[in-house]
């Protein structure tokens, strides 16, 4: 059994069961069932750490569509395991937190179902080895994120935030899919491992750089990199547990994961280096710069997340320089940057998760997240304050917290890269540490704002909705655990470094690992008065200075008014698309069925008739056809007569009956040509559709005499004759042409292959069951469509639950 593949699907099974548990088990909070899944997954994955840290990888395959090389291959190496542990670990803590956060009046069944869907999809993203499977899971995370952001769908801002995140991340996802298809066609495989193995043969291909840019677009949109970061602040409309889980700890890391995963493929290119490093470092600056101006605590954390993601992204970019240089003792130094990136990825999940939960607690307790109304909560909420301080100081990069370690490593990387001379770094390289340092100063400022504005200063109870109080102990458990981890990682960082990050490095730099390079690092808290320590001290000094004087320089932000922001541009673009497409659509959507028929049949004539002439298929071999018996003539003539009479029918009932003659005539022809299955089906369908017609006609007015203009009538006549001619020509032409080998021989021994004598059904249910399955689903969609069109419309008018 493929246990790891199953691990991906367990959350999906849970998602299917949770609605029933929610409905039928009333006295236990449904979250307690949900929490079992990530906990079990975490324990299981943790049990794999020894295997992975010894340098092994686990590969398990479950066939899906092997004929196209698309299989559910789970590939677990250090990188996947690190992410998977984060997903399940933080997932368990977030669910525990949400049990106390969400009141039982909320739609908890949907909440935990979406959360489980997300968890499964996210595990799929980090474990999939097949690019197309990765894509499917990737989009599933976007969809579950959409559902979770719009959890309070009664609010307009929630719906808009959800829509925005979906539009941006899915557009990125589709461009990533195109990139994957390019990579797949270049390397002739969908497996990422195989692509990495023969990267040497594809990197000269003309599609290599376009494929890289398209994949990066997917990564940048998902990880909220500039200028696609605008969806993340709006996504904060989601319930806080969701923000803590999806929009800081896991989903937004998917783009970073993708960059890490594809570093061995694209990493040796200058374009990759500059795109990833440049976008990352600018996002780092832009996020931290904007975080300072926020007044909503969650928006502040959102911009801070954007900034931190940019920082991790830029470290992956800088680390890729090592691949460009190839293995040597000098180039190994750059891999340190990637190591730091992975370490910070873990650290960020711990402290940012804790901070989001703190904001949730504050919001829950006093009813607001606005820092202009908050203050002085330190004495009333001492535990919350402690955790908030731990998280913020780690975020600012201060000891003794884990953020300090990764921030120092980040500074070392920027200094190393600024001294390099390849990629044109000689002239521009110095900018990297400078921007990084400035951004870190702003990071320090907003971290200070977060703590000082919320917990220090005067307590203004009159501005709060409820008086401040510590929350239920259950709500504090998760942030406290994360806070303790923040401290623990500072004192024993090498436990993470050695067992998770070092094996992950082997996956990102396979050529280095093959040479036997030691990619692991020993993380030290103290390494003398080095330049990076000086930088940290500078951050603190200037940070404090800027925080104290921020009244005086806040005017800087008026240089970036809302009117000229990317957000406004995005809104403008969306409006324009909507307006213009409405304009075009209104031109041809006339709401007359007969116009649509004209479109369909004109296309039929042009498309089929055109192909017919283009391929030269008009080779009729009439003499080879079987002779037509008198009986067959009789039936066909009756059908023709009925067909013509329909045109002159005075009432709808007559038209239906005449139409049925056509249907039953075809059924008789099926019998004559020995196709009992088709005849049977045709007859039953005739019976059912006649009833359907009758029911529908009950609501229609009397059949009126058509009063169309002469010109329209002539066009219609022309089209109908054209359709008839094309149809007849195709029917006759089919006999004379064989473009492909016939496939009927494949089905001949259906009894041996499928155990059934009825070849038609063997084809439907076995040989081509995939078609049948999809048809069944289409039928279901059509049925639900009819139902909603007719029934839901009337309901909506009376029951308006959405606000404006």
């Amino acid at each position: 059994m493929s246990t790891i593949v199953l691990a991906i699907f367990i959350p999906f099974f849970a998602a299917a069961i949770i609605p029933f548990l929610y409905k039928y088990v009333k006295n236990i909070h449904v979250g307690w069932f949900a929490i079992l899944v990530p906990t079990a997954l975490f324990l299981y994955l943790a049990s794999l750490i020894p295997t992975i840290s010894s340098g092994d990888v686990i590969v398990q395959t479950m066939n899906w569509i092997p004929s196209y090389g698309i299989n559910l291959t789970a590939y677990l190496d250090g990188l996947s395991l690190t992410l998977a542990l984060l997903i399940s670990g933080v997932g368990a803590l977030v669910i525990l937190y949400s049990i106390y956060y969400l009141s039982s009046r909320e739609a908890l069944g949907s909440f935990y179902t979406y959360l489980m869907l997300f968890m499964g999809a996210m595990l799929g993203v980090v474990m999939a080895d097949n690019m197309l499977v990765l894509y499917v899971f990737w989009e599933l995370t976007s969809i579950s994120s959409f559902l979770l952001i719009a959890f309070w769908y009664q609010r307009k801002r929630s719906r808009e935030g959800a829509k925005k995140s979906l539009i941006i991340t899915v557009s990125g996802g589709i461009s990533m899919l195109v990139g994957f298809i390019m990579v797949g066609s270049m390397a002739n495989t969908w497996s990422i491992r195989e692509v990495i193995a023969d990267v040497g043969t594809i990197n000269e291909h003309v599609l290599f750089i376009p494929a890289m840019l398209l994949v990066l677009l997917g990564a940048f949109t998902k990880s909220a990199q500039f200028p696609f970061h605008i969806w993340l602040p709006d996504a904060m409309e989601a319930p806080t547990p969701v923000s803590a889980y999806l929009h800081s700890a896991t989903m937004v890391k998917a783009g970073i994961y993708l960059v890490a995963r594809f570093t061995p493929v694209f990493g040796g290119e200058a374009v990759w280096f500059w795109a990833v490093t440049g976008v990352g470092i600018f996002t780092l600056f832009w996020g931290s710069f904007n975080a300072v101006r926020q007044t909503d605590l969650k928006a502040l954390l959102a911009y801070s997340t954007i900034s931190q993601l940019g920082m991790i992204m830029s470290m992956f970019g800088m680390g890729s320089a090592a691949l460009y240089l190839g293995y040597s003792t000098e180039s190994v130094i750059y891999t340190g940057s990637t190591f730091a990136a992975l370490f910070h990825l873990v650290n960020h999940s711990t402290f940012k998760g804790a901070l989001f939960m703190i904001v949730g607690i504050v919001d829950h307790s006093v009813g607001t997240r606005d820092i202009r109304r908050l203050g002085g909560l330190i004495t009333l909420m001492p535990v919350t304050f402690t955790v908030a301080t731990i998280g913020s100081m780690s975020m600012a990069g201060l000891p003794p917290f884990n953020g300090f370690l990764s921030k120092e490593m980040f500074f070392i990387s920027t200094l190393d890269i600024s001294e390099a001379s390849f990629f044109g770094l000689g002239s521009w390289g110095i900018l990297i540490p400078v921007i990084a340092w400035v951004a870190s100063v702003f990071t320090f400022v907003y971290s200070t704002v977060f703590v000082v504005k919320t917990f220090l200063g005067p307590y203004k109870e009159e501005k709060l909705e409820h008086p401040a109080h510590e929350p239920k102990p259950g709500m504090l458990v998760s942030p406290i655990i994360l806070g303790l981890l923040v401290i623990a990682f500072f004192f024993v960082p090498n436990m993470v470094g050695k067992h998770l990050i070092t094996p992950a490095m082997g996956g990102i730099f396979p050529t280095f690992a093959a040479e036997g390079a030691d990619l692991g690092q020993h993380i030290h808290a103290w390494h003398g008065f080095t330049p990076e320590l000086v930088m940290t001290i500078g951050v603190i000094l200037f940070g404090v200075l800027l925080f104290l004087t921020r009244k005086y320089w806040a005017g800087v932000y008026s240089l970036f008014p809302e009117k000229r922001s990317i957000n406004t541009f995005y809104g403008f673009m969306l409006n324009q698309i909507e307006e213009k497409s409405t304009l075009i659509t209104n031109k041809y959507m006339t709401r007359y069925l007969r116009d649509y028929m004209v479109y369909i049949f004109t296309f039929f004539i042009l498309g089929i008739g055109g192909t017919f002439i283009f391929t030269g298929a008009y080779k009729f071999t009439l003499p080879e056809n079987a002779s037509i018996s008198n009986f067959e003539w009789l039936i066909v003539l009756a059908m023709m007569a009925a067909g013509i009479t329909v045109l002159f029918a005075k009432s709808r009932l007559t038209a239906i009956v005449l139409n049925s003659i056509l249907g039953f005539g075809i059924a008789i022809l099926f019998v004559l040509f020995r196709a009992p299955d088709l005849a049977l089906t045709q007859m039953i369908i005739e019976a059912v559709t006649t009833v359907l017609f009758l029911v529908a006609y009950y609501f229609l007015p009397e059949l009126d005499k058509e009063d169309t203009r002469k010109k329209t009538k002539n066009i219609n006549l022309f089209i109908s004759i054209g359709v008839g001619v094309v149809f007849t020509a195709v029917a006759l032409g089919v006999q004379g042409n064989r473009a492909f080998e016939t496939i009927s021989s494949f089905y001949e021994n259906s009894y041996e292959l499928a155990g059934g004598n009825n070849m038609v059904n063997a084809i439907l249910g076995d040989f081509r069951a995939f078609d049948t399955m999809l048809e069944v689903i289409v039928l279901l969609i059509a049925g639900i469509g009819v139902y909603t069109f007719i029934r839901v419309r009337t309901k909506k008018e009376s029951d308006q639950i959405e606000d404006k």
Binding site: S2, M62, N63, W64, I65, P66, L72, P676, D677, L680, T681, I684, I685, A687, V688, V691, L692, V695, A696, Y698, F699, A754, G755, G756, N757, N758, V760, N761, L764, G765, D766, A769, F770, T772, M773, V776, I777, L779, L780, A782, G783, I784, V786, Y787, I790, R791, T794
Partner: protein
């Protein structure tokens, strides 16, 4: 105008079960002779449609309190589920299995997963046909 349809009602009560039997027969016959999930489902649906036409909708819904949307959804789940079932046994998606078993009374019988798949198809057909008919006819 009130139509006296005593004869139709009486005949329907009897014929309904004959049609049902035919539907079940067609469903199982499909493996080796004409029939199958689609036609079996359609016949079953037409039997229900007959009931809805002859008696009024409220009466039938009282006697048969089934949400046909759920029937259709369950059918689709069943069909797709057999596809995933194959995956669990390490086979390709939608691989159907069959074998011959000796069952008392029936003798040597072929059991196959296609039956489950076709059962799903039949349920979707029944569910969708009845749902469409009911939604159109109940529209005000």
């Amino acid at each position: 105008m009130k139509i006296n349809n005593v004869i139709l009602r009486t005949v329907t009560k009897l014929v309904f079960f004959i049609i049902l039997t035919l539907a079940v027969y067609l469903f199982f016959a499909g493996h080796n002779s004409p029939g199958g999930g689609f036609s079996g489902g359609l016949v079953l649906a037409s039997a229900l449609v007959l009931l809805f036409i002859v008696f009024d909708i409220e009466t039938i819904q009282k006697g048969l309190p089934i949400d046909f949307k759920l029937v259709a959804a369950f059918g689709a789940l069943l069909s797709v589920g057999t596809g995933f079932g194959a995956l669990v046994f390490g086979e390709n998606f939608l691989t159907q299995a069959f074998d011959y078993f000796n069952i008392p009374f029936f003798g040597k019988t072929e059991l196959t997963t296609v039956t489950i798949f076709e059962g799903g198809v039949a349920l979707v057909v029944v569910g969708v046909v009845v749902t469409i008919l009911l939604s159109i006819s109940e529209d005000e």
